[in-house]
Protein backbone atom coordinates (compact mmCIF):
# COMPACT_ATOMS: atom_id res chain seq x y z
CA UNK A 1 0.00 0.00 0.00
CA UNK A 2 2.81 2.39 0.84
CA UNK A 3 4.19 2.64 -2.65
CA UNK A 4 7.32 4.70 -2.24
CA UNK A 5 7.24 8.30 -3.35
CA UNK A 6 10.66 9.53 -4.27
CA UNK A 7 12.41 11.02 -1.32
CA UNK A 8 12.30 14.82 -1.14
CA UNK A 9 14.47 16.04 1.72
CA UNK A 10 14.07 19.80 1.13
CA UNK A 11 10.29 19.53 0.97
CA UNK A 12 10.28 17.58 4.20
CA UNK A 13 12.47 20.19 5.87
CA UNK A 14 10.09 22.92 4.75
CA UNK A 15 7.08 20.98 6.01
CA UNK A 16 8.66 20.48 9.43
CA UNK A 17 9.56 24.16 9.56
CA UNK A 18 5.97 25.19 8.86
CA UNK A 19 4.75 22.85 11.60
CA UNK A 20 7.19 24.36 14.07
CA UNK A 21 6.89 28.04 13.12
CA UNK A 22 3.19 28.23 12.48
CA UNK A 23 1.84 25.69 14.97
CA UNK A 24 4.53 25.20 17.61
CA UNK A 25 4.88 21.46 16.98
CA UNK A 26 8.53 20.72 16.35
CA UNK A 27 9.26 17.36 14.75
CA UNK A 28 12.68 18.32 13.41
CA UNK A 29 14.45 16.11 15.93
CA UNK A 30 12.34 13.05 15.35
CA UNK A 31 14.09 10.01 13.88
CA UNK A 32 14.00 10.66 10.12
CA UNK A 33 13.37 7.09 8.99
CA UNK A 34 10.11 6.54 10.86
CA UNK A 35 8.99 10.17 10.49
CA UNK A 36 9.46 10.15 6.71
CA UNK A 37 7.45 7.01 6.47
CA UNK A 38 4.51 8.51 8.30
CA UNK A 39 4.63 11.72 6.31
CA UNK A 40 4.64 9.75 3.06
CA UNK A 41 1.75 7.62 4.21
CA UNK A 42 -0.20 10.74 5.08
CA UNK A 43 0.52 12.24 1.65
CA UNK A 44 -0.80 9.11 -0.02
CA UNK A 45 -3.84 8.61 2.18
CA UNK A 46 -4.95 12.20 1.82
CA UNK A 47 -4.11 12.21 -1.87
CA UNK A 48 -1.72 15.11 -1.90
CA UNK A 49 0.37 15.40 -5.03
CA UNK A 50 3.57 15.52 -3.01
CA UNK A 51 5.02 16.83 0.23
CA UNK A 52 5.14 20.35 -1.17
CA UNK A 53 1.37 20.26 -1.67
CA UNK A 54 0.89 19.04 1.88
CA UNK A 55 3.01 21.92 3.11
CA UNK A 56 0.83 24.37 1.20
CA UNK A 57 -2.30 22.79 2.66
CA UNK A 58 -1.19 23.09 6.28
CA UNK A 59 0.00 26.64 5.69
CA UNK A 60 -3.51 27.58 4.59
CA UNK A 61 -5.69 25.33 6.67
CA UNK A 62 -5.61 24.45 10.36
CA UNK A 63 -7.70 21.35 9.79
CA UNK A 64 -5.12 20.01 7.35
CA UNK A 65 -2.53 20.51 10.04
CA UNK A 66 -4.66 18.73 12.65
CA UNK A 67 -5.02 15.76 10.29
CA UNK A 68 -1.29 15.60 9.76
CA UNK A 69 -0.60 15.80 13.48
CA UNK A 70 -2.92 12.88 14.06
CA UNK A 71 -1.14 10.85 11.39
CA UNK A 72 2.23 11.43 13.01
CA UNK A 73 1.30 10.04 16.39
CA UNK A 74 1.41 6.27 16.89
CA UNK A 75 -0.79 5.58 19.90
CA UNK A 76 -0.28 1.82 20.10
CA UNK A 77 -0.40 0.25 23.54
CA UNK A 78 -1.94 -2.55 25.62
CA UNK A 79 -2.99 -3.30 29.16
CA UNK A 80 -0.10 -4.98 30.98
CA UNK A 81 1.99 -4.84 27.83
CA UNK A 82 5.19 -6.81 28.41
CA UNK A 83 3.68 -8.81 31.27
CA UNK A 84 7.08 -9.73 32.69
CA UNK A 85 7.90 -6.06 33.01
CA UNK A 86 4.71 -5.59 35.01
CA UNK A 87 5.70 -8.58 37.08
CA UNK A 88 8.96 -6.80 37.81
CA UNK A 89 7.11 -3.60 38.71
CA UNK A 90 4.92 -5.52 41.12
CA UNK A 91 7.73 -7.42 42.78
CA UNK A 92 10.51 -4.83 42.82
CA UNK A 93 9.23 -1.31 42.32
CA UNK A 94 5.93 -1.30 44.17
CA UNK A 95 7.46 -2.39 47.52
CA UNK A 96 9.95 0.45 47.18
CA UNK A 97 7.18 2.93 46.37
CA UNK A 98 5.38 1.73 49.50
CA UNK A 99 8.09 3.31 51.64
CA UNK A 100 6.89 6.81 50.73
CA UNK A 101 3.99 8.56 52.43
CA UNK A 102 2.78 9.95 49.12
CA UNK A 103 3.64 8.57 45.67
CA UNK A 104 3.91 10.39 42.37
CA UNK A 105 4.12 8.55 39.04
CA UNK A 106 4.38 9.93 35.50
CA UNK A 107 3.54 8.02 32.33
CA UNK A 108 5.06 10.10 29.54
CA UNK A 109 3.64 9.32 26.07
CA UNK A 110 0.74 7.31 27.52
CA UNK A 111 -1.17 7.05 24.22
CA UNK A 112 -4.67 5.72 24.97
CA UNK A 113 -3.82 5.20 28.64
CA UNK A 114 -3.73 1.43 29.13
CA UNK A 115 -0.36 1.52 30.86
CA UNK A 116 -1.60 4.05 33.42
CA UNK A 117 -4.74 2.02 34.12
CA UNK A 118 -2.61 -1.11 34.54
CA UNK A 119 -0.39 0.71 37.00
CA UNK A 120 -3.45 1.85 38.95
CA UNK A 121 -4.55 -1.78 39.23
CA UNK A 122 -1.16 -2.84 40.63
CA UNK A 123 -1.25 -0.01 43.15
CA UNK A 124 -4.80 -0.84 44.16
CA UNK A 125 -3.77 -4.45 44.79
CA UNK A 126 -0.87 -3.25 46.92
CA UNK A 127 -3.19 -0.96 48.89
CA UNK A 128 -1.28 2.12 47.73
CA UNK A 129 -3.66 3.72 45.28
CA UNK A 130 -5.19 6.11 47.82
CA UNK A 131 -1.86 7.74 48.40
CA UNK A 132 -0.72 7.86 44.80
CA UNK A 133 -1.09 10.47 42.11
CA UNK A 134 -0.60 9.15 38.58
CA UNK A 135 0.00 11.67 35.79
CA UNK A 136 -0.40 10.30 32.29
CA UNK A 137 0.51 12.60 29.43
CA UNK A 138 0.68 12.65 25.65
CA UNK A 139 0.46 15.32 22.96
CA UNK A 140 -2.21 13.42 21.07
CA UNK A 141 -5.55 14.89 22.31
CA UNK A 142 -7.60 12.21 20.64
CA UNK A 143 -5.68 9.43 22.34
CA UNK A 144 -5.97 11.31 25.64
CA UNK A 145 -9.74 11.52 25.25
CA UNK A 146 -9.91 7.73 24.99
CA UNK A 147 -7.52 7.39 27.91
CA UNK A 148 -9.66 9.67 30.07
CA UNK A 149 -12.90 7.89 29.20
CA UNK A 150 -11.37 4.55 30.13
CA UNK A 151 -13.63 2.97 27.51
CA UNK A 152 -12.12 0.31 25.26
CA UNK A 153 -13.34 -2.35 22.89
CA UNK A 154 -14.18 -5.67 24.60
CA UNK A 155 -12.52 -7.44 21.70
CA UNK A 156 -9.18 -6.64 23.30
CA UNK A 157 -10.06 -8.23 26.61
CA UNK A 158 -8.86 -11.76 25.91
CA UNK A 159 -5.35 -10.56 25.00
CA UNK A 160 -5.29 -8.21 27.97
CA UNK A 161 -6.56 -10.93 30.27
CA UNK A 162 -3.66 -13.12 29.16
CA UNK A 163 -1.18 -10.30 29.78
CA UNK A 164 -2.74 -9.76 33.18
CA UNK A 165 -2.31 -13.43 34.15
CA UNK A 166 1.24 -13.53 32.80
CA UNK A 167 2.19 -10.55 34.90
CA UNK A 168 1.41 -12.65 37.96
CA UNK A 169 -1.68 -10.80 39.14
CA UNK A 170 -4.40 -12.80 40.82
CA UNK A 171 -8.09 -12.67 39.92
CA UNK A 172 -9.11 -11.23 36.60
CA UNK A 173 -8.64 -7.99 34.76
CA UNK A 174 -12.39 -8.08 34.13
CA UNK A 175 -12.85 -7.45 37.88
CA UNK A 176 -11.60 -3.94 37.24
CA UNK A 177 -13.93 -3.04 34.44
CA UNK A 178 -17.57 -2.84 33.64
CA UNK A 179 -18.54 -4.70 30.49
CA UNK A 180 -21.32 -3.41 28.28
CA UNK A 181 -22.14 -4.84 24.89
CA UNK A 182 -19.00 -4.46 22.88
CA UNK A 183 -17.13 -2.12 25.14
CA UNK A 184 -15.70 -2.07 28.61
CA UNK A 185 -15.16 0.78 31.02
CA UNK A 186 -12.41 0.88 33.61
CA UNK A 187 -13.56 1.11 37.21
CA UNK A 188 -14.18 4.58 38.63
CA UNK A 189 -12.27 3.55 41.74
CA UNK A 190 -9.09 3.58 39.70
CA UNK A 191 -9.92 6.79 37.90
CA UNK A 192 -9.72 8.95 41.02
CA UNK A 193 -5.95 8.66 41.13
CA UNK A 194 -5.12 9.34 37.49
CA UNK A 195 -4.82 12.72 35.80
CA UNK A 196 -4.58 12.61 32.02
CA UNK A 197 -3.02 15.78 30.61
CA UNK A 198 -1.61 17.20 27.42
CA UNK A 199 2.17 17.51 27.54
CA UNK A 200 4.60 17.67 24.66
CA UNK A 201 7.99 16.23 25.50
CA UNK A 202 9.65 18.42 22.86
CA UNK A 203 8.44 21.77 24.11
CA UNK A 204 6.92 21.44 27.58
CA UNK A 205 8.90 21.48 30.78
CA UNK A 206 9.67 19.48 33.89
CA UNK A 207 6.79 17.68 35.54
CA UNK A 208 6.90 17.72 39.36
CA UNK A 209 8.92 15.61 41.77
CA UNK A 210 8.31 12.08 40.57
CA UNK A 211 9.20 8.81 42.26
CA UNK A 212 8.67 6.82 39.10
CA UNK A 213 8.60 7.77 35.42
CA UNK A 214 7.57 5.38 32.66
CA UNK A 215 8.32 6.42 29.11
CA UNK A 216 8.13 3.32 27.01
CA UNK A 217 8.33 3.13 23.24
CA UNK A 218 8.30 6.89 22.83
CA UNK A 219 12.02 7.65 22.57
CA UNK A 220 12.28 5.32 19.57
CA UNK A 221 10.56 8.06 17.55
CA UNK A 222 13.23 10.64 18.46
CA UNK A 223 16.78 11.16 17.20
CA UNK A 224 19.65 10.95 19.65
CA UNK A 225 19.71 14.67 20.27
CA UNK A 226 16.05 14.81 21.28
CA UNK A 227 16.40 11.60 23.30
CA UNK A 228 19.17 13.27 25.22
CA UNK A 229 17.06 16.36 25.92
CA UNK A 230 14.08 14.33 27.05
CA UNK A 231 16.21 12.12 29.29
CA UNK A 232 17.50 15.31 30.95
CA UNK A 233 13.92 16.42 31.41
CA UNK A 234 13.23 13.11 33.17
CA UNK A 235 16.31 13.47 35.34
CA UNK A 236 15.08 16.91 36.44
CA UNK A 237 11.60 15.55 37.08
CA UNK A 238 12.77 12.70 39.32
CA UNK A 239 13.51 12.60 43.04
CA UNK A 240 17.02 11.49 43.87
CA UNK A 241 16.73 7.70 43.85
CA UNK A 242 13.66 7.88 41.59
CA UNK A 243 13.08 5.18 39.00
CA UNK A 244 12.88 5.56 35.23
CA UNK A 245 11.54 2.79 32.96
CA UNK A 246 12.14 2.89 29.20
CA UNK A 247 10.93 0.51 26.52
CA UNK A 248 12.75 -2.83 26.23
CA UNK A 249 14.76 -1.81 23.14
CA UNK A 250 15.45 1.78 24.19
CA UNK A 251 18.66 2.75 25.86
CA UNK A 252 20.41 5.54 27.62
CA UNK A 253 23.86 4.70 26.46
CA UNK A 254 23.89 7.32 23.71
CA UNK A 255 22.96 10.10 26.10
CA UNK A 256 25.17 12.33 28.23
CA UNK A 257 22.68 11.72 31.06
CA UNK A 258 23.62 8.05 31.32
CA UNK A 259 26.13 8.90 34.06
CA UNK A 260 23.37 10.29 36.27
CA UNK A 261 21.59 6.94 36.45
CA UNK A 262 22.35 3.43 37.69
CA UNK A 263 20.92 0.46 35.86
CA UNK A 264 18.56 -1.55 38.05
CA UNK A 265 17.33 -4.04 35.50
CA UNK A 266 19.01 -4.34 32.15
CA UNK A 267 16.42 -6.39 30.31
CA UNK A 268 13.50 -4.12 31.21
CA UNK A 269 15.59 -0.95 31.01
CA UNK A 270 14.89 0.24 34.53
CA UNK A 271 17.17 2.97 35.87
CA UNK A 272 17.64 4.79 39.17
CA UNK A 273 18.52 8.42 39.41
CA UNK A 274 21.74 8.75 41.39
CA UNK A 275 21.93 10.68 44.65
CA UNK A 276 19.80 10.52 47.79
CA UNK A 277 19.58 7.54 50.12
CA UNK A 278 18.74 4.59 47.89
Amino acid sequence: MTSPLPHQPQDTDQLLKTMADQYGYDFRDYAPASLNRRIRQHVEQHRFQNIGALNQAITDDTQAFANLLRSLSVPVTEMFRDPLFFHYLREQIIPWLATFPFIRIWHAGCATGEEAWSMAILLQQAGLLDRTQIYATDYNEEALATARSGIYSSGLLSLWERNYQDSGCTGKLADYCLQKYRSLRMSRELQKSIIFANHNLVTDSVFGEMHLILCRNVLIYFNRHLQDRVLKLFRESLHAGGRLCLGPRESMRFSSTAGDFDTLHDEWRVFRRKGGSQ
Binding site: M1, T2, S3, P4, P6, H7, A31, P32, A33, S34, N36, R37, R38, V74, V76, N217, L219, I220, Y221, N223, R224, Q227, G247, P248, R249, E250, S251, F254, E267
Partner: protein, 179 residues
Protein backbone atom coordinates in the same frame (compact mmCIF):
# COMPACT_ATOMS: atom_id res chain seq x y z
CA UNK B 1 19.34 -18.15 6.45
CA UNK B 2 22.03 -20.09 8.28
CA UNK B 3 23.12 -21.49 4.95
CA UNK B 4 23.38 -18.02 3.49
CA UNK B 5 25.11 -16.28 6.39
CA UNK B 6 27.13 -19.27 7.57
CA UNK B 7 29.72 -18.81 4.86
CA UNK B 8 30.55 -15.25 5.87
CA UNK B 9 33.54 -14.90 8.21
CA UNK B 10 33.60 -12.79 11.36
CA UNK B 11 35.64 -10.19 9.50
CA UNK B 12 32.92 -9.65 6.89
CA UNK B 13 32.93 -5.86 6.45
CA UNK B 14 29.24 -5.11 5.88
CA UNK B 15 26.45 -4.79 8.41
CA UNK B 16 23.33 -6.91 7.83
CA UNK B 17 19.79 -6.07 8.91
CA UNK B 18 17.49 -9.02 9.34
CA UNK B 19 13.71 -9.22 9.43
CA UNK B 20 12.08 -12.54 10.10
CA UNK B 21 8.32 -12.96 10.15
CA UNK B 22 6.71 -14.69 13.08
CA UNK B 23 3.37 -16.35 12.95
CA UNK B 24 1.00 -14.87 15.51
CA UNK B 25 0.67 -18.28 17.13
CA UNK B 26 4.37 -18.77 17.72
CA UNK B 27 4.29 -16.24 20.51
CA UNK B 28 7.08 -13.90 19.65
CA UNK B 29 8.94 -13.65 22.92
CA UNK B 30 11.63 -11.00 23.14
CA UNK B 31 13.65 -12.20 20.16
CA UNK B 32 16.57 -13.23 22.33
CA UNK B 33 16.05 -16.90 21.56
CA UNK B 34 16.31 -16.23 17.87
CA UNK B 35 19.48 -14.18 18.39
CA UNK B 36 21.26 -16.87 20.36
CA UNK B 37 20.01 -19.57 18.01
CA UNK B 38 21.45 -17.79 14.98
CA UNK B 39 24.51 -16.52 16.83
CA UNK B 40 25.60 -20.02 17.74
CA UNK B 41 25.41 -21.15 14.12
CA UNK B 42 27.24 -18.45 12.20
CA UNK B 43 30.55 -16.59 12.59
CA UNK B 44 29.08 -13.09 12.37
CA UNK B 45 28.15 -11.25 15.53
CA UNK B 46 24.35 -11.39 16.00
CA UNK B 47 22.50 -8.77 18.03
CA UNK B 48 18.95 -7.85 18.78
CA UNK B 49 18.63 -4.37 17.26
CA UNK B 50 18.68 -1.60 19.86
CA UNK B 51 17.13 1.73 18.98
CA UNK B 52 19.62 4.33 17.65
CA UNK B 53 22.64 2.06 17.71
CA UNK B 54 25.16 2.71 14.95
CA UNK B 55 25.83 -0.05 12.45
CA UNK B 56 29.12 -1.85 12.77
CA UNK B 57 30.74 -4.18 10.26
CA UNK B 58 30.25 -7.92 10.37
CA UNK B 59 27.19 -7.65 12.57
CA UNK B 60 23.72 -9.01 11.99
CA UNK B 61 21.00 -6.83 13.53
CA UNK B 62 17.81 -8.76 14.14
CA UNK B 63 14.54 -6.81 14.20
CA UNK B 64 12.92 -7.31 17.64
CA UNK B 65 9.50 -8.97 17.51
CA UNK B 66 6.68 -6.44 17.37
CA UNK B 67 8.87 -3.57 16.17
CA UNK B 68 9.62 -2.35 12.68
CA UNK B 69 13.33 -1.95 12.02
CA UNK B 70 14.48 1.06 9.98
CA UNK B 71 17.76 2.66 8.97
CA UNK B 72 18.38 6.40 9.36
CA UNK B 73 20.60 8.30 6.97
CA UNK B 74 23.23 8.83 9.69
CA UNK B 75 23.75 5.06 9.85
CA UNK B 76 21.81 4.56 13.07
CA UNK B 77 18.91 2.16 13.47
CA UNK B 78 15.40 3.19 14.43
CA UNK B 79 12.61 1.06 15.76
CA UNK B 80 8.94 1.87 15.45
CA UNK B 81 5.61 0.48 16.49
CA UNK B 82 3.69 1.75 13.50
CA UNK B 83 0.84 -0.47 12.31
CA UNK B 84 1.83 -3.88 10.97
CA UNK B 85 2.25 -3.90 7.18
CA UNK B 86 0.59 -6.87 5.44
CA UNK B 87 0.07 -8.30 8.94
CA UNK B 88 3.78 -8.12 9.65
CA UNK B 89 5.68 -6.22 12.30
CA UNK B 90 8.61 -6.25 11.69
CA UNK B 91 8.02 -5.76 7.99
CA UNK B 92 10.47 -6.14 5.13
CA UNK B 93 8.78 -3.34 3.16
CA UNK B 94 9.34 -0.89 6.00
CA UNK B 95 12.98 -1.90 6.36
CA UNK B 96 13.71 -1.83 2.63
CA UNK B 97 12.07 1.54 2.05
CA UNK B 98 14.14 3.11 4.79
CA UNK B 99 17.32 1.49 3.53
CA UNK B 100 16.58 2.71 0.01
CA UNK B 101 16.23 6.25 1.40
CA UNK B 102 19.29 6.02 3.59
CA UNK B 103 21.74 4.15 1.39
CA UNK B 104 20.48 4.68 -2.18
CA UNK B 105 22.64 2.87 -4.70
CA UNK B 106 24.65 1.26 -1.92
CA UNK B 107 21.62 -0.63 -0.65
CA UNK B 108 21.29 -4.35 -1.21
CA UNK B 109 18.04 -6.13 -0.40
CA UNK B 110 17.77 -9.89 -0.16
CA UNK B 111 14.49 -11.78 -0.10
CA UNK B 112 14.39 -15.37 1.10
CA UNK B 113 11.59 -17.87 1.54
CA UNK B 114 8.34 -16.57 3.03
CA UNK B 115 4.59 -16.87 3.00
CA UNK B 116 3.46 -13.30 2.34
CA UNK B 117 3.95 -10.62 -0.28
CA UNK B 118 5.79 -8.39 2.18
CA UNK B 119 9.03 -7.19 0.62
CA UNK B 120 7.77 -6.65 -2.91
CA UNK B 121 7.07 -2.94 -2.46
CA UNK B 122 10.30 -2.45 -0.54
CA UNK B 123 12.32 -4.22 -3.22
CA UNK B 124 10.83 -1.83 -5.74
CA UNK B 125 11.99 1.12 -3.61
CA UNK B 126 15.53 -0.27 -3.55
CA UNK B 127 15.52 -0.73 -7.33
CA UNK B 128 14.29 2.82 -7.80
CA UNK B 129 17.15 4.09 -5.69
CA UNK B 130 19.57 2.17 -7.93
CA UNK B 131 20.32 -0.34 -5.23
CA UNK B 132 20.50 -4.08 -5.79
CA UNK B 133 17.86 -6.70 -5.16
CA UNK B 134 18.64 -10.41 -4.88
CA UNK B 135 15.98 -13.01 -4.46
CA UNK B 136 16.13 -16.65 -3.51
CA UNK B 137 14.92 -18.59 -6.53
CA UNK B 138 11.24 -19.44 -5.91
CA UNK B 139 11.84 -23.02 -6.97
CA UNK B 140 14.43 -23.55 -4.27
CA UNK B 141 12.52 -21.67 -1.58
CA UNK B 142 10.58 -23.64 1.00
CA UNK B 143 7.67 -21.22 0.63
CA UNK B 144 7.86 -19.39 -2.70
CA UNK B 145 5.21 -16.69 -2.14
CA UNK B 146 7.58 -13.97 -1.03
CA UNK B 147 10.29 -14.50 -3.66
CA UNK B 148 7.64 -14.71 -6.36
CA UNK B 149 5.96 -11.48 -5.28
CA UNK B 150 9.29 -9.65 -5.15
CA UNK B 151 10.24 -10.93 -8.60
CA UNK B 152 7.05 -9.72 -10.22
CA UNK B 153 8.33 -6.21 -10.75
CA UNK B 154 11.97 -7.19 -10.99
CA UNK B 155 14.27 -8.77 -13.49
CA UNK B 156 14.50 -12.56 -13.66
CA UNK B 157 18.27 -12.26 -13.20
CA UNK B 158 17.58 -11.21 -9.60
CA UNK B 159 16.53 -14.77 -8.77
CA UNK B 160 19.31 -17.13 -7.76
CA UNK B 161 20.20 -20.17 -5.73
CA UNK B 162 21.43 -19.73 -2.17
CA UNK B 163 25.04 -20.61 -3.05
CA UNK B 164 24.99 -17.91 -5.65
CA UNK B 165 23.55 -15.41 -3.16
CA UNK B 166 26.39 -16.12 -0.78
CA UNK B 167 28.92 -15.62 -3.53
CA UNK B 168 27.34 -12.29 -4.38
CA UNK B 169 27.47 -11.19 -0.76
CA UNK B 170 31.19 -11.97 -0.71
CA UNK B 171 31.62 -10.01 -3.94
CA UNK B 172 29.83 -7.00 -2.51
CA UNK B 173 32.22 -6.91 0.39
CA UNK B 174 35.19 -6.75 -1.95
CA UNK B 175 33.70 -3.99 -4.06
CA UNK B 176 32.16 -1.65 -1.60
CA UNK B 177 33.91 -0.81 1.60
CA UNK B 178 31.28 1.06 3.62
CA UNK B 179 27.56 0.31 3.45
Amino acid sequence: MVKLLGDLSASYPLPILLVKHHSAREGQGTGKDMVSWLGSRIALDVQLADDKCLLSPGTVYVAPPDYHLLLNRDGSLSLSQDEPVIHARPSVDVLFESVADAAGSQATGIILTGASTDGAVGAQAIRRGDGQVMIQHPETAEVPVMPKAALKKGDSSEAMELECLTARLLDLARKEPGQ
